[in-house]
């Protein structure tokens, strides 16, 4: 049930982000969600895209360093406490969130949260126990 995210190393230089989006655009890859984590010197661009294989090949060809990471996509209801319902049981079981970002599910009112946990397999088990909806990779890519 894990989905795959691609991440790219970017120096903090003018125009680097635009280069990435131009490459993906030329390759016909759609970006579903992204988050940019940055320090003073560099950033890491993390993305969920429509076609990982195509995106990775196009970016590598242009000299970018591309990594792939397994993440968990969770549907969160759009109401007070929605995110808390997801996090509470994980917290109770000592699962740490390395980072997370969100985007709106275009097919309904709900949000989709992308999580990178320190222990993804265990996190999946717990989410399953609590009947929290985890979205499969294919489904996320093709939203």
């Amino acid at each position: 049930m894990l989905a795959e995210q691609i991440s790219i190393f970017l120096e903090n230089k003018e125009g680097r982000l635009a280069e990435v989006t131009a490459i993906l655009s030329d390759a016909g890859v759609n970006i579903r969600a992204l988050s940019l984590a940055d320090t003073t010197d560099f950033g890491i661009l993390r993305m969920i895209v429509s076609d990982n294989v195509k995106a990775e090949a196009a970016l590598k060809k242009e000299g970018f360093t591309v990594g792939k990471t397994k993440i968990v996509a969770v549907e969160v209801t759009d109401e007070p406490g929605g995110l808390n319902q997801v996090l509470d049981p994980l917290c109770a079981n000592d699962i740490n969130v390395e980072y997370m970002y969100a985007f709106a599910n275009p097919k309904c009112q709900n949000a989709i949260m992308i999580f990178r946990f320190d222990d993804s397999d265990r996190a999946l088990e717990i989410l399953k126990e609590k009947n929290i909806k985890v979205i499969a990779g294919e489904e996320v890519y093709n939203l």
Binding site: F42, I44, G63, T65, V66, G67
Partner: protein
């Protein structure tokens, strides 16, 4: 300004040269008898101690290089039994291993005398209080200046480097009249004093003796204006002795008098090794004439300069060398620490996650030299988590600090972004205006 050792420092040229020849012959005989490296090297070049009948014959003797020092690490070039060695110093070498030098009791006395002469040439007398901000330790600067100050009979404050705010308090309260240290640290000290609202006009300095790294005439003006003192250049390297191989005089501040009763200086063409005529610019080469534990024979300093035989108004008859203008190798001097790009490379090689594609950028921020090491990231080292990349940066930086003793900021950069010229990376960008 009084000369510390009038008989030797003002020796007429002819007498000086006959003293040099006598001492050179003794030195050559001693190293031939006691140091296998020199014996083998002289034999291989078909030259024996008996061939040295004039100073010109020195040119027949092979050079010694930093590589020879490294090959004989740590003690194989010592010319006396360890029993007679009373002090060991070291400076960084071209790879992980430092260059090790030793001193007998008499060597320490000689060095103290030459540092006392240097301090006197810079205006020092037994009445002075000397604030010694050269680092104490394996580096020769701190202890060298310290012993010289004591030999001169001055009062020395062994403050060493660092702890800058406390240094300024000491300067206010102890009222030192002379200052010693590396010029970049001293300028940093001036800045901190400024931030603390302390003006050097209200301190008691008359002169400062600065060295262990190259500095320019424009830095001299800056030092003199900011610190309200006369800035004197001192030269030395641990392989030859330490600070006090040559010194500017207070009167002229034009060229550094080489203590020729203890060293012979030559200028060579760094490519052909040929001795160049007087006044020409080339690589400076030293032969020690009185050292017991660690004599050096035609040691190539890699410093580029020229010699000036003109008489000097200070009265010293010793030849002057001009301020070194550069290096014939890729050594960098950062805050007084010698850094070779190859040393950084070996540190990077020992970090398995990264490719040794790197570039060193040296800047002078404010007045302090900074070293930035740009390292290309690779797929093996890349992570989607910031903390992992930052951990990698600080791991490399810690290793550099540990092996080289210099603080460096490590910056991960994108692959293939480090400029490569003719297939070879441009390893060093030095933005300092010295």
């Amino acid at each position: 300004m009084p000369i510390f050792n009038i008989p030797f420092e003002t020796l007429p040229r002819e007498e000086l040269e006959s003293l040099q020849l006598k001492r050179l012959q003794t030195t050559i005989e001693r190293v031939y008898a006691n140091v296998p490296f020199y014996r083998e090297s002289f034999d291989a070049h078909g030259v024996s101690p008996a061939d040295i009948t004039s100073l010109k014959d020195l040119a027949r003797i092979p050079f010694t290089t930093k590589t020879d020092l490294r090959d004989n690490y740590p003690y194989d070039l010592f010319a006396v039994p360890m029993q007679n060695v009373v002090r060991i110093h070291a400076s960084s070498g071209t790879t992980g291993k430092p260059t090790v030098v030793g001193y007998t009791k008499r060597d320490i006395d000689t060095w103290s005398e030459l540092m006392a002469r240097s301090l006197a040439a810079g205006g020092g007398t037994p009445d002075d209080i000397i604030h010694n901000a050269f680092g104490y330790g394996l580096f020769t600067g701190g202890l060298g200046a310290h012993y010289g100050a004591e030999k001169l009979g001055a009062s020395v404050i062994p403050v060493s480097g660092g702890n800058t705010k406390r240094q300024i308090t000491i300067m206010q309260d102890f009222k030192p009249t002379m200052l010693t240290g590396t010029p970049s640290y001293i300028l940093h000290l001036a800045e901190v004093a400024d931030e603390m609202g302390v003006s050097f006009e209200n301190l008691s300095f008359k002169s400062g003796i600065f060295g262990a790294e190259p500095w320019s005439e424009s830095m001299r003006s800056e030092l003199e204006n900011k610190l309200c003192l006369r800035a004197i250049d001192i030269y030395g390297l641990s392989e030859v002795m330490g600070p006090g191989v040559s010194i500017e005089c207070y009167e002229e501040q034009a060229g550094l008098h080489i203590f020729e009763d203890h060293f012979i200086a030559e200028i060579i063409d760094p490519d052909s090794g040929e001795v160049l005529p007087m006044g020409r610019t080339g690589e400076l080469v030293f032969t020690s004439l009185t050292k017991e534990a660690f004599p050096v024979i035609r040691y190539r300093t890699k410093d580029i300069t020229s010699l000036n035989p003109e008489p000097c108004s200070c009265g010293r008859t010793h030849i002057r060398m001009n301020k070194p203008t550069g290096r014939s190798d890729d050594m960098l001097i950062i805050r007084g620490v010698n850094v070779f790009p190859s040393q950084i490379e070996s540190v990077l090689m020992e970090t398995p996650e990264i490719q040794p594609h790197y570039q060193l950028v040296v800047d002078r921020k404010g007045n302090l030299d900074t070293l930035t090491v740009n390292v290309e990231i690779s797929e093996d080292s890349f992570s989607d988590a910031i903390k992992n990349l930052q951990r990698l940066e600080s791991k490399i930086s810690d290793n550099i600090k540990e092996y080289l003793g210099v603080s460096a900021q490590v910056k991960l950069v994108e692959p293939k972004t480090i400029e490569r010229s003719q297939g070879k990376a441009v390893r060093v960008i030095d933005n300092r205006e010295i």
